[in-house]
Each structure stands twice: as C-alpha cells, then as structure tokens.
Amino acid sequence: MTADISIAVQAEGFDPGAEYNRLRRANFADGATAVFVGNVRDFSPTETGGHQQVSVLELEHYPGMAESALAAIARQAAERWPLGRVRVIHRFGPLRAGDEIVFVGVTSAHRQDALDACGFIMDFLKSRAPFWKKEVNKDGEQGTWVAARSSDEKALKKW
C-alpha cells in the first residue's frame, strides 16, 4: 500500500487541529497518529550561556527544492515504515513568537511506526531541507542567522 503524502511550503499559518482532523478523516485502518508541531520561541541561547529576546524569526527557503526535499524525505519514511497518511507543512517569511513553523503528521496501524516515522522526518528535515532562520531582536536590527547545530547532523545517525 502506498502512503498518501501531502506537502505544503507556505507563508500562511495553519491550524494543527484541522490538520489532525484531516489525517483522521475516514481513516479506520490506522490506529496511531503521531504529530509534531514546531513553534517560534521568544528567546535564543547566546554564546555566553545567556538568553536573548527574539521578536521576529525570518524563514528563508529555496522555492521548488524545499518542496521536493520534503517530499523525498516523506517518501523515504513511507518506504521504511508502513504509513497511511503523511502531512508535512513548513512555513516561510516573517514569523512571531508562538507561531507554528512546521507540522509533521503521520498515521500508521501501530504506535511505534508512527512515532519513528515522525521523528525520522523531523530529523532529516532539519539537516536536509533548504530553509534558513534569521533572528531579529526587539531593536529591529538587521538580525542574526541561526547557526546549524552539529547535534542535528548527529541525530541522523540514529536512523
């Protein structure tokens, strides 16, 4: 059975509840739904171990490749685990603290497959999908590009 995969890269917000309902609608074969939602924090850790206020997060993406990279990651997950539905949404543009950035939802017959596939998609999305974050603080200065974390690259090794 092939999974039903749906990808969106968009500026608009999304409703996680509505997305969950869509994953469940007339879906009686899958007893498990795993959902991850990423939100904008209102702070970022500084190099000295402190915290700095973030008022706006600018998300840049590579149009075209962003969509195809997310689709490829979702397909890999669907080849590895028996999934019913996969929904991935990633936003771009200016986002504010509390806003949803990313949604990953997967359904499967069993819990462990759904949880693993959801974690796999998030881990690969973070290191392989062409999105970049820039933090702008309250003073509205030009902002700071978020540095990639080596822990994100290491997270891929567990798969």
């Binding site: 590579y62 490749m65 950035i101 999908a129 062409p130 999105f131 970049w132």
Partner: protein
C-alpha cells in the same frame, strides 16, 4: 548558461541572489566555484567557507558533481529549518 543561486547569509554577503555564468569548459561544481571566487575578494571570501553546501538542479550535491549548460546550481550555508 548556468543559473547560479545564493541563499541566506551567502546571498547577503554577495549582495545578490543569482548570477548567470557561462558554462564554457567548466567540468564540475568545484570548477564553477573557483571561477566565481576568482571575480574579486568578496566572492573569494564568501565562497571559501568550508561549510558551504551545494545543490545541482535542486538536489543536494558535492563539489565533484558535473555541471553543464542549462543547469541550476545553488550555494548556501548549512540549513536551519524546522
């Protein structure tokens, strides 16, 4: 022509998001990068970052990936989405 794209901090450093480059005798991404870097000090510095990533026709690639006329090549810093 090869369409070359730049994203995020690299785009800001270069002050542009794209350039068209004659494919000529360029064999691979590495040769393209060297040709671009040879333009001036700003380009040399921006393109010499060891962490730089590359995509050829919207697929992640490496410096040995061959390039030819009509390709789209993108250079960018490590991704930080999610």
């Amino acid at each position: 022509m090869i369409r070359v794209l730049f994203f995020a901090s690299l785009r800001e450093q270069l002050g542009r998001d794209a350039i068209d480059w004659e494919a000529g005798q360029l064999a691979d991404v590495s040769a393209l990068r060297s040709a671009l870097a040879g333009q001036d000090e700003t380009w040399r510095k921006a393109l010499s970052q060891p962490q730089l990533q590359v995509a050829v026709n919207q697929q992640l690639a490496n410096l040995q990936c061959p390039v030819r006329d009509g390709d789209e090549v993108a250079f960018f810093p490590p991704v930080t989405g999610g």
